[in-house]
Amino acid sequence: MYAQMIKTARAGIKTRDEMSDLERDFQDKIDRDIKIEPRDWMPDDYRATLIRQIGQHAHSEVVGQLPEGNWITRAPTLERKAILLAKVQDEAGHGLYLYSAAETLGESRDELTRLLHEGKMKYSSIFNYPTLNWADMGAVGWLVDGAAIVNQVALQRTSYGPYARAMVRICKEESFHARQGYHAMMKMAFGTPEQKAMAQSALDRLWFPSIMMFGPSDAESTHSEQSMAWKIKVKSNDELRQQYIDQTVPQIEYLGLDLPDPSLKWNEETGHYDYGEPDWSEFFDVIKGNGPCNVDRLRNRVKAWEDGAWVRDGLMAHARKKAAAKVAAQ
């Protein structure tokens, strides 16, 4: 999940009586599962909430290049290097579709980028953790992309058409990444003692950050209600987190690694795994900018943008010259 803690632009839900005719028609469409398209009327708060969510999701894809890019030059085989490059390339591509989806709502990529760089928009907390050994590349694909898929499969049914369609395409690629990640993890877990230790370390460090990707418990999430009514959000944070944990624990067991949380136990009664609460104070620290890599990640992105200004300006100037020459020739 690459969008978390999205503030719904409106507090509380309007009753039908409080809604205008336009708002009632809009809500009826949503209730009948008819997708909202860019030229349809929509409440301003719906638009604003979506821009926040899609923008944060796009930023996550872009910043998400960095922790994996950290290992491309050190990938241990040509095949692993190629797989990692292809994955990072896909992520940048996801960023591009998502910014395009945000543009259909009237918000430009440059504006969203500016807000990110000024710290006014966020990206997923997960990318503020460091990637410290090669097994992290497997674990990121398996756990992080795995968590993203659980959320994004649900978002394929989200009410805004362009976002839902982007999710369909993105999910296909993410599933591929998760499988490749798990494969890399198997090589490590079934490899030499040192490799197995790297795999265990990666799991231990990334487990709680990955289950925190779903955001705090719904009981504490003040913004979910309206987003659920608008079907911007389709399932609750806790439902998604439980689904993720239930599917991931058997995969950990198959790898023969120790469980990263001693509370993880199958519960016959509920038919789900019980799990320990993550340290939410850590989560809020990361969200506030105090995670292990927040400052460096953002600095890197800002530096890339600033260092690249002359390139963007140069290419624009050339395009203008060519266009002018074409007009002159006509």
């Binding site: 872009v62 910043v63 290049q65 960095l66 994996e68 890019g69 491309i72 030059t73 050190r74 990938a75 241990p76 085989t77 040509l78 095949e79 692993r80 290097k81 190629a82 490059l85 292809a86 990072v88 390339q89 940048a92 591509g93 960023g95 591009l96 910014y99 990529r109 090669w134 890399a184 090589k187 490590m188 490899g191 030499t192 040192e194 490799q195 890197n300 992105r301 530096k303 890339a304 943008w305 260092d307 690249g308 200004a309 002359w310 390139v311 963007r312 300006d313 140069g314 290419l315 624009m316 100037a317 050339h318 395009a319 010259k321």
Partner: protein, 255 residues
């Protein structure tokens, strides 16, 4: 096919594979740091193509070499003096302009070389050249387009591209030098004499630089020593330090 000395053939293939390996490594360093999202995608894509080409060229080199050689062993377990890439590809990325200028100067040579290798008397080489030339055609289009765009852009972008060309051009000549290995390839009909590619290269580069309003420096001096392994730059050792670290630290592990 005329019998060819297998050591010479291996050297020839290492030259091709090491060029793409080292350049692919350099380009991949840009990941997540480029001026605009489209360039992040394009650079990752170029690096991916180059690593894919490396698997083919070093894979064939390993096959010719025999014993238990493999593309991965060649990439990750040789030391700097056994690398056979031209110096151009190991030079640092510099700014985005220097990276794209280096890319174009290499792409232009590679596209011409591959056009000849498609007609190689060795069907394995001809097949790889055929497969790879499609992506390289796209690389030349993209890198030449960017060189033109930035050369003929703003005053600043023009100045930076001229600095990049001035820095890199003394490394161009090495791609056209010939030695005994090349003579053996020519004799067996496997590959052309590198010097025979120069006129076509100069025409292509001349056209692009004219459009980019950039001035090609006088060809007074050529840095060399990479493709023979006699003397690489100081940069190669650092590239290998990161590239080979895991394989060297954990010998025999499977990844």
């Amino acid at each position: 096919m005329t019998q060819v000395d297998q050591n010479a053939l291996t050297q020839f293939l290492l030259r091709l594979g090491d060029n793409t390996l080292v350049l692919g490594h350099r380009v991949s360093e840009w990941c997540g740091h480029s001026p605009v999202l489209e360039e992040d995608i394009a650079l990752a894509n170029t690096a991916l193509d180059l690593i894919g080409q490396t698997q083919l060229w070093l894979g064939l080199a390993a096959e010719v070499k025999g014993n238990d050689s493999s593309a991965d062993k060649l990439a990750f377990l040789r030391d700097a003096w056994d690398f056979r890439n031209v110096l151009l590809v190991e030079l640092p990325n510099g700014d985005f302009g220097q990276t794209l200028m280096r890319q174009f100067l290499f792409d232009a040579w590679q596209s011409i070389m591959l056009g000849r290798l498609i007609k190689s008397s060795d069907p394995r080489i001809a097949a790889i050249a055929e497969k790879v030339s499609k992506e390289v055609t796209y690389h030349v289009e993209r890198s030449s387009g960017t060189v033109v765009g930035l050369g003929d852009g703003t005053d600043e972008s023009h100045a930076r591209m001229q600095v990049a060309l001035d820095y890199l051009y003394p490394y161009v000549g090495e791609m056209f030098l010939s030695d005994d290995t090349d003579a053996a390839m020519v004799q067996a009909g496997i590959a052309p004499d590198p010097s025979s590619l120069r006129a076509e290269y100069d025409a292509l580069v001349g056209k692009v630089m004219a459009e980019a309003t950039l001035v090609i420096p006088d060809r007074a001096y050529t840095h060399k020593g990479g493709r023979t392994g006699y003397m690489h730059t100081e940069h190669l050792g650092h590239i290998l330090t990161s590239m080979q670290w895991l394989q060297r630290t954990y010998p025999g592990a499977e990844w």
